[in-house]
Symmetry: D4
Subunit: 171 residues, 8 copies
């Protein structure tokens, strides 16, 4: 069981990537909107329930002064994965630094800014679960092979397309 | 009554500037070390006591993924003033962005990185108190005049010094 | 009484957020366009009138080399709140640094870049007024509860929406 | 079993923090110096042995164009934790971005730049192991309590010290 | 013979610029999509074939944590030219630093971010080949003269256009 | 006589602002497209003609690795004014640093990135000419008054508009 | 007559470079310490005297939220030259952006951060004066020749030194 | 024959790394100090001699607004390799962007900031020469093996040292 938490419903556009990866791997999860700053009581209530519910990793998406992952990490000893969301004018640099620069003792496993990060947060959660689930580990290896195949296919497609002059020009 | 809170005792080297300004203005304050991430329960206990104790502004110093000011701001409606502390290799850019980029609805009044910020956090707190304390407002105006006089004096000193050739060369 | 000052009429798109918050809280304010650099005499005239008019906080929005908040702060001892506006190609990093990095002795209470900052500048002003106005303090607590409820509602809406497959995909 | 890998022996000054945390938790680990760019064959040989050896998380420290964590992540489906090391003139911004901005499908769990990151990489590894090791989970909770107690103690020490005037001045 | 490698088919929009320059100079090349992280085996297979195939320079385009050029450089002693691609929210700063900040001993010849870089990567490859190919060197000098002429022509066009008032206004 | 030089005809969209200001002040100028890197001979020819032609300031607009202003400055002792143009993915940060960070002995008077900079480059040139041209100095003072009046007018317009509710909301 | 103004006496370490250049060229100047924020009245008094005193360019050094050059520029139509001083933890990036990003209509001629900038501010001032002073123009050309000769001499010295093995190693 | 050019004799501390690598590979080179801005005539004279002298690659080190590599590249069609030098307060970010962001048509092969870059510039030059020199190609492969061996040795040394407790602690 994984939890996917985000600071605002508008972050779902990015965090839906995490849900799709977990769906693909058949991993259960719950989705929650709660804000470190605007609904702190609700956030606390959530973080206190995390271990009791048997959640094994929390994926947290947040933008700006992105404190939500840190708040969750401060209250639990299960892995917390932070997805910096590019929702301010600083293009996610603020979210990245607010998420990754945690003080000694309380880690947040930070992934890339935006959608690539939301995908990778879910993969990382699956990697953690797969340490004790051989079937899941096998699926992960299949997924990786799938990535490699997709690269191969896009290589073939490009080579094919380059035979047509208008594609050759790259636009 | 003002509270001065910092995430780590090592931040006191910077935050002592706030205490000195408040001492100078005769404003009472308490000093506290508590971490958003390493002592979250203690931090919550503190933020819940703030309004009851009659604290009228909280000055918060923190470095790195500086969440402490935001945590305090999330739990109280009195003004929270954030001092970004330059304690990581990114020279306070991380602390600044983590402190200032708060989401809509929960402000942190952010001042400059480091010692100038710690001084200014205290001045800002005094400015807030002075809105309802004419004696304090008068002291603030005196303080400002003092700043201007110090500039004038340093101007005279420099002009005097420039008459001696070794100073003239600037080193 | 609050003043909302901005360097250019085009900043009103952002600063209107401040006016709406103050309207919501029933706090009186005046709105003014004046530039630190293009209308310095007018700006001085304004800053000199601030204390006489009984203004208790000045909210200042400015972009680029955003000096307006600093100019106001240099001439008054009431709290000055700076909103960095993202109007140059550097995406507000210039406005943020020009607003927040004030020298020791003359603070500007800086909030987030752009609209979130304009909302928060007004909330901060209300927080300052509420220190001596219990009704306003009560409204602030209601406002905060409203923020938390909005988060809850957006959580419910998202959970509801996720039952429909096209939303589940996040776009 | 954890592996701690670093791109250069000079990174050990930082990465020793990871070894100390694992020693403290009684978690076995191996330490290895291998470079993504200067010893690629050796790096490959290592990454291919990871799963066979039963390693359950790889902690990777690297500076500059920090590719080592990404290379390890590309060849294994166990969690890879990246510690950006501040060894170039850009103060770790290069290492952070090179480590965290991984493409969709291949995550690196990135922690803070430098020593705080090296500590947190080890804590994160312990958190992952603790999901299936109750004794370790208990130790993690004790460790967290220890962090909180250390904060409390440093608070007391500061309050005590502030009674002496020379400390009060912050230097 | 030049190889043009890119981490994703979507990079072709940028890297097509390299192919057009090489076409213009009549230099043979192969185009390949392979990812350092998603298809590492394929990437290794490619880099091991480079010298055997008689490839004399490898042009590599990649975005985000752009490791592909470094991986190629780690396995060969022929010149590797890196084109940082602006495909993340950080606008290519991440790709630039990941590509250029290589450790001592394993260079990547890095060019500008995006299309200008893709053009220049190809020109640089031609410059390298031209060291031992007088016809190519002559073509390069012609190309440079062409650049200068294009500048002159655009100068004339602008001067001509400025005689019409609507152009004079610059939009 | 002023010269306005730009590295590429596409920079004219920005640099037209300089021409309009000079037109407004009745100052003669020539416009030229020449590139430091693509037409170096032409650029040299131009810079060598500058003093002979009686040009009294050169305004230079360039983007990316913006060397053109520096090249002009290296060959003449009349004032060179640099306008960093935002034409790369780094949003003008590269152009700004390439223009302003000149070595000791060879200044480039750098103004803001983009159109505001192009306006200001022309104003700066007029200010320099006005030191020995009282009529021009009078016009500059009128221009400044005009700026202040425009601020006042936009203030009135905003105040008027705010009486209508749809404007009040800022969009 | 040139004025050299700085925001704090501690800036003199940098700004002494400007005085030395002007001494070298035999150009008269006055030196003044005055702060935009801490002594605004004094600053205004100064800027209002500038034109009356016959000052022909004002060189302004300031750090942090460096508004002083902008304040001077707002009140006069003679050229204002800004030297960003590296006195905060952000290494002068804040001073540079605060100085250079002036709004349309009010230019500050910005030079490099720190000592190179202080030298260049003075050279720029001399260049402006030299437009109407042939003797000064001649001196400037001599100065430039001197720079070139110094480069030549340092080239010879290096070549000589490289004959000794310990220098050859670069330390 | 390689040329190593630098903008200032003080850059030799960094650029000596290039000379040492070339010495090690037995590649002839000349060393020259010349500045794009302070000795432009001398620089031009040099760049015009490059092709005639049979130089096959120019390594250029420069700091700040680092134009020297671009100036050389503008006048020759042989490969130009740029080493950004960290000599300003911006820590080489200015030199990197000034060197790498060249316009379409005129490449500079940019390597890492500082000493690692100076080493790599020389290696890159050797790689270019080695395309037509089998002995040199063999030496390059030996050099790479040497790098890998050094990594292995430092791994052994670290493992050995870790047996002693004081080293184990990382300092």
């Amino acid at each position: 069981m994984i939890a996917i938490v985000m600071g605002s419903a508008s972050d779902y556009e990015v965090m839906a990537e995490s849900t799709q990866v977990l769906d693909e791997f058949g991993v259960f999860y719950e989705v929650m909107v709660t804000s470190a700053h605007r609904s702190p009581a609700r956030t606390l209530q959530f973080v206190r329930s995390v271990e009791r519910k048997g959640i094994r990793a929390v994926i947290v998406g947040a933008g700006g002064a992105a404190h939500l992952a840190g708040v969750v990490a401060a209250h639990t000893v299960i892995p917390v994965i932070g997805v910096p969301i590019d929702s301010s004018s600083l293009k996610g640099l603020d979210s990245l630094l607010s998420t990754v620069q945690m003080p000694s003792g309380v880690p947040v496993a930070t992934v890339a800014i935006g959608k690539a990060g939301a995908v990778n947060a879910a993969i990382l959660a699956v990697e953690i679960l797969a340490l004790n689930d051989k079937a899941l580990a096998r699926k992960l290896r299949e997924y990786r092979k799938g990535l490699a195949k997709k690269v191969e296919r896009s290589d073939s497609t490009l080579k094919e397309a380059r035979k047509r002059p208008e594609i050759r020009k790259g636009s």
